[in-house]
């Protein structure tokens, strides 16, 4: 049996489409983990990146934190957190957020630094307040890059959130881990292809968000 046979067998089995271990349930669990982790990471990464980028200070400290964050093995962190805190949502969220903050933080900082300084100077000279300059002059121009950072963070979370199953939670990782345990490779491949599909869907969602939120003036000149 080759991989494609596994895939078609997995998806054509009607038992995989219902119940608490069905595809819709696992997909929505996975989506839930992803959105939650991305939201936490954005709440931490975006403001810090925006403010440091605006004032142009703290770039070195940021890249240090980001490198440290990237160096932490996600799986190891998951096991460590579970041992420290016990089973639950929190020990899963911590490694996912640690994984997602660096790309958001660093890209947002870089995006803000790359904004042409002359419109900012003009805005300041016209009497625009600093918050307004940040939100109405810099962010709209930096938005494509900022969204790019969020996108890579989201994709990393989607593919890494499978580890939640390792500590008895749900999500698409359930199929992979259970499949491996049961030597049910149909399940393993099915779970993996669903994860990959969701990563592609994430790309599409970010493409659409960029299309809607980025001004045509920025899109064309970038």
């Amino acid at each position: 049996m080759n991989v494609l046979d596994f895939v078609s067998a997995f998806f054509s089995d009607s038992a995989h489409w219902q119940g608490y271990d069905g595809i819709p349930t696992r997909l929505s669990e996975h989506l839930g983990y992803t959105l939650e982790a991305l939201a936490f990471a954005a709440v931490i990464g975006l403001p810090v990146g925006l403010v440091t980028g605006h004032y142009g200070r703290g770039g070195n400290a940021l890249s240090l934190i980001a490198t440290a964050g990237r160096a932490l093995p996600t799986f190891g962190l998951l096991v460590l957190m579970t041992m420290l805190i016990g089973f639950g949502m929190l020990p899963v969220m911590i490694p996912l957020v640690v994984l997602a903050v660096p790309p958001i933080l660093v890209t947002t900082y870089e995006a803000m630094r790359s904004v042409d300084p002359s419109p900012v100077d003009a805005a300041r000279g016209m009497g625009m307040a600093e918050t307004r300059i940040l939100l109405q002059v810099e962010v709209p121009v930096a938005l494509p890059l900022i969204l790019g950072g969020l996108r890579s963070a989201a994709i990393q979370i989607v593919s890494t959130a499978t580890i939640a199953a390792y500590v008895s939670l749900g999500g698409l990782g359930r199929y992979i881990i259970d499949g491996l345990y049961q030597r049910d490779y149909e399940k393993v491949v099915g779970g993996a292809s669903l994860t990959a599909g969701m990563a592609l869907a994430t790309l599409a969602v970010f493409w659409a968000i960029t299309k809607v939120t980025v001004s045509p003036g920025v899109r064309r000149s970038a």
């Binding site: 042409d116 002359s118 419109p119 900012v120 100077d121 003009a122 805005a123 300041r124 000279g125 016209m126 009497g127 625009m128 307040a129 002059v137 709209p140 121009v141 980025v214 001004s215 045509p216 003036g217 920025v218 064309r220 000149s221």
Partner: protein, 361 residues
């Protein structure tokens, strides 16, 4: 220290140009006016009131600010770029946009550009948007920091002329920074020449700057041909134009003969409307059969009375006959004048230049 103990009184409703070599503190001086740079000591009085008396953003909104490269917001349409300050002042969207449309017309931008984005405009058009944006809330003061430095010379000349025209209509108090002395002399009502450290070398109207530079630094900064450039300030109205050495292309043999000795070695041939065609020696002209191809070029004519002695001299120097052709507003020949006569007028103008009556503008 960028600017040290500079004391300058900027006259209302006129263009004051700060000029000097790079690093002389001219931009710093300008930026101190709207407190983009805070002076460590000293005060800036606007209509007698210390600029630090009001909140900084209120102060800045009362002054138009134009910078090099325009500094437009690339994510906003042209009309919304121009409407920035009115929006900051709390005007409604409709009122701000209506005002922005009005300004587009004033600075010579086609209304069709309103919905475009900055990247779709040329450098010169972007700079016009920058000026319109600065004028949007009708501020009494306009600060311009090398606004035309980044565009090519032809566009720059157009923008300078446009600025002078707008200033004629609006009468703003403009402070204009440039490193280009020609630009300073062209647009300034008053020119402040700064030397390194923001020290004032000379503060004078352009004509006075050219005629009596305060010291070697100013003289050096003005460049080698300041004598020629100074002629820009003398009107050509005082020139004695000769009309006798002009014949129409359909002139009779008697007319040609009568004008052959009219005081010039050459005759200027015009078409039937009186527009100059070219020069010829009287002997080479045959009535009724004047060949336009045989005429000597008359070069670029100057507009009598409107253009300066510099333009008249330039025409005479460029003319193969050494005689300049003066035309009226419609381009019809108004007379001819020799280099010698222009030279006499220049000497006369220099003698009279103590009186401002002959100074253009």
């Amino acid at each position: 220290m960028a600017v040290d103990r500079l004391s300058l009184e900027i006259p209302d409703r006129s263009i004051t140009v700060l000029v000097g070599p790079s690093g002389c503190g001219k931009t710093t001086t300008l930026r101190m006016i709207n407190r983009m740079v805070e002076p460590t000591e000293g005060t800036i009085l606007i209509d007698g009131v210390d600029s630090r008396q009001q909140p900084v953003n209120i102060l800045r909104r009362s002054m138009g600010y134009v910078i090099q490269n325009a500094g437009l917001f690339q994510h906003r349409t042209i009309i919304d770029n121009i409407a920035t300050v009115p929006r900051l002042l709390g005007w409604s969207k409709d009122k701000s946009r209506a005002r922005a449309r009005e300004l587009m017309e004033r600075v010579g931008l086609d209304a069709a550009l309103a919905k475009r984005y900055p990247y779709q405009l040329s450098g010169g058009q972007q700079q016009r948007v920058g000026v319109a944006r600065a004028l949007a809330a009708d501020p009494p003061v306009l600060l311009m920091d090398e606004p035309f430095s980044a565009v090519d010379p032809v566009v720059r000349k157009g923008l300078q002329d446009e600025l002078l025209r707008i200033q004629e209509e609006l009468g703003k108090t403009i402070v204009f920074v440039t490193h280009d002395i020609d630009e300073a002399v062209k647009i300034g009502t008053m020119v402040a020449v700064l030397r390194t450290g923001g020290r004032l070398a000379q503060f004078a109207p352009p004509a006075e700057l050219l005629s009596s530079p305060a010291d070697a630094f100013v003289e050096d900064f003005l460049g080698a041909d300041r004598g020629i450039r100074r002629l820009s300030f003398f009107s050509s109205a005082g020139l004695d134009l000769l009309t006798a050495p002009i014949v129409a292309v359909d002139a009779t043999a008697e007319q040609i003969a009568a004008r052959a000795d009219a005081g010039a070695p050459y005759l200027l041939v015009t078409d039937v409307d009186g527009k100059p065609l070219g020069w010829s020696e009287p002997g080479r002209l045959t009535a009724g059969r004047i060949d336009r191809g045989q005429l000597l070029s008359h070069g670029r004519p100057f507009v009598a009375g409107q253009e300066s002695l510099r333009a008249a001299l330039d025409c005479a120097v460029l003319s193969p006959t050494g005689w300049a052709v003066a035309v009226d507003g419609e381009g019809r020949a108004a007379g001819v004048v020799s280099q010698q006569a222009i030279g006499e007028a220049i000497r006369g103008a220099h003698e009279d230049s103590v009186g401002p009556a002959k100074v253009l503008r």
